[in-house]
Each structure stands twice: as C-alpha cells, then as structure tokens.
Symmetry: C2
Subunit: 201 residues, 2 copies
C-alpha cells in the first residue's frame, strides 16, 4: 500500500488483503497498542514502522546457516528474499570436511560447525537456519546449545524440540504436499471418506 502511495488504510482493507476478518485485524493490532484512529484507519508508514518494531527487525538480524554445503543450504544462502526483510546470512557452517576444503561456487567461506559458539558470539548471531541431513541434526543441535543462538529454523527432516533457551520452528516440506494431497483427495473422491471405509470392524 505504501508503494502505491496510500497514506491510510482501514481494517476492512487490510482484512481483505490478508483474507482475515476486520474485527480480527483490529483485535490483533490492538494487542500491541493503539495504532489506528476510529473512523479514520491506520496511518500506513507508522503502522509499517510499528510492525517492524514488533517483529524485532528495526536493525538487520544476523543469521547463521548450518549445512551450507547441501543443495537446500546453498539455495537459502543465496536467497535474496531474506535481506529485503532485514535478515542477513552472515556466516555459513558445515560439518562435511570435503565442503570445508572447497566451498561451492558463489558461496563465501564455510566454517566448521564446531566454530559456531565463537563466531555466533562475535557476530551477535541469535538465529540459525539448519539444512543438515537428518543423521547430523542432533549432533549439530548439541553444538547450537553451547552458543548464543536462541532460535532455529529447522529444515532437517527430523523434529527438534524447543527448550527453555531455544525455540525451534520445524519446517516440514513434505507435510505441505500432504495437506494439498488431502485437499485433492477430498474434492475429487468424497466417496473415499465415507463412513463405511473408516469404521472399526
């Protein structure tokens, strides 16, 4: 809206864009303070600034990436979308000695993951993206627990638990396909969900 030169927006307008209902939008924003004026709406530049503040992104957040030598790691290391929203991948790590000797094309230096605690402290890294294989995930998790890192975005195909010190967001790419598959199954084959098929025998 800001790019379109708009200065004000109503909760109805926001709700329409977000596929939510206006009352929910008002309630959610009100949770953080009084941003809007009744009958006038929200001042867009101010609302934007406040949301950035709520998200803790007034300063660029330095992010570490562990598993940088893998395909998904490389894709995320070079993904330009993060920087646009105030995240910067500032350090790359891997466990694989082969990767450490010879970085993949276009990536900067990759550090042994054992150096995470020192480097994270130096660079103020509190957040890492994890793209290691399932079998490496728990070893790496132990190293992370020795560092200043407090949040993990985990793409490794294994569920890592959150603790009092570290919050983990597990991303399961296959689950998103499963959810779409469920949808297709429901819409194309409603009879496969009949009571008959699923009753106990």
């Amino acid at each position: 809206l800001e790019k379109q030169g708009e200065m004000l927006c109503s909760s109805h307008q926001l709700a329409g864009l977000l596929h939510l209902n206006p009352a929910q939008v008002r309630k959610d924003l009100a949770y953080f303070g009084e941003f809007g004026k009744r009958g006038v709406g929200y001042a867009i530049p101010k609302l934007r600034e406040q949301i950035i503040k709520i998200l803790g992104l007034k300063q660029i957040r330095p992010v570490g990436l562990i598993g940088a030598g893998g395909r998904l790691g490389q894709a995320l290391a070079l993904y330009r979308g993060f920087e646009k929203r105030n995240f910067r991948v500032v350090a790359l790590f891997d466990k694989d000695p082969f990767i450490l000797r010879q970085s993949p094309m276009g990536l900067g230096k990759i550090h042994p993951v054992e150096e995470l605690p020192r480097i994270a402290k130096e660079l103020g890294i509190e957040m890492v993206i994890l793209t290691v294989p399932a079998e490496a995930a728990f070893d790496v998790y132990e190293i992370i627990q020795l560092s200043t890192v407090k949040a993990i975005l985990n793409f490794a195909p294994v569920q890592l638990p959150s603790t009092d010190e570290i919050v983990v967001h597990n991303v399961d790419l296959t689950m998103k396909l499963e959810s779409l598959s469920y949808y297709l199954n429901c819409s194309s084959l409603p009879e496969s969900l009949s009571e008959d098929d699923f009753s106990e025998d």
Copy 2:
C-alpha cells in the same frame, strides 16, 4: 511407533508426541470415522493405513516441478524426503532457454513450461511445486491454469490466489524467520512492547 514394534497407542500417547491435547486428537480422528476402541486405543498399522488413505496417498502421487533450473528448484527436485511419503517428482519444467539447453548436473530432462498441459495430462500430474522467480510467477500461473493441475505448492516470493479449480499453498520462508524474530524480541526486550512505545500520538 510402528518401527518400534508397538501395536497399540492411546490418544494420550499420540497427543504427547504431537504436542496436542488428547481430546483434540480423539476429536480430529473421529471426524474421519471410528478408528479407536474406547479404553484400548488405536491399532497402529490400521491407523497408519487410514491416515495414508485420508491424505490420498495410497498410490504414489506424481508431482511436477516448475523452475527446476533454479537453486531451490534443484534442491527440491533431488530431495529424497518426498518419495518416502509417496510423492514422486516425475517431470521438471523451466522457462529459461539456457537451462533448457543444458540441464544442471544430476537432474533429468527439463521441459519448456509451455509443455506442462500436455505432459501433466499424460502423466496424471495434479500437483506442482513452483520455484520460479517472482517476475515469472504470474505467467507460469496462467499456463498452469490450462493444465490438469489442481494444487500448487508455491515457493515463488509472490502470493498466488486460489481459485475454484486450483488450490494454492503459498510458502513464505522469510515469514518463518520473522516469527522467530518476534519471539526473540518479546523474550529479550519486553520493554520494547510497552504501551508507551506503541500508543498513538
């Protein structure tokens, strides 16, 4: 649980593993039929079979991948996790003529995206993963609409709308980082969320 040789599980056990409450687990499963026996629990092999059926994954689901030449596309084309859960990437597409002349290492043939309608019909593809750049997303979306595809897992950094014919699941990788950043901000700087900071002036 099945791999551990267990034959039965209770809703309490499932709820513990899933970080849900037992009543919710019972209610959700009951929505699809009567799988469990009161006081006995769920028979694990049967529950597993029924869930696979509910998800529409008794047969392997063929999936197309559009944007296969990009880094994320390559990573997902070669990701082994999909196949373990009955998805198979059966056809790769791209728009970029350079990619089409010379496939990246390790990938099979990449087709021009214009061939999607024909190939999707031939191979029974109803689901695609989209990893094209933002600027290509809408053009590709139009081609998808001419095909048998009914579900899109969209990694392009642009929101595509669902229609009556096509359901779109938009994956926003940066939003997951934002959500973690919000958490860090709340826990480390509670004073930044004080009323003072957010009140209207």
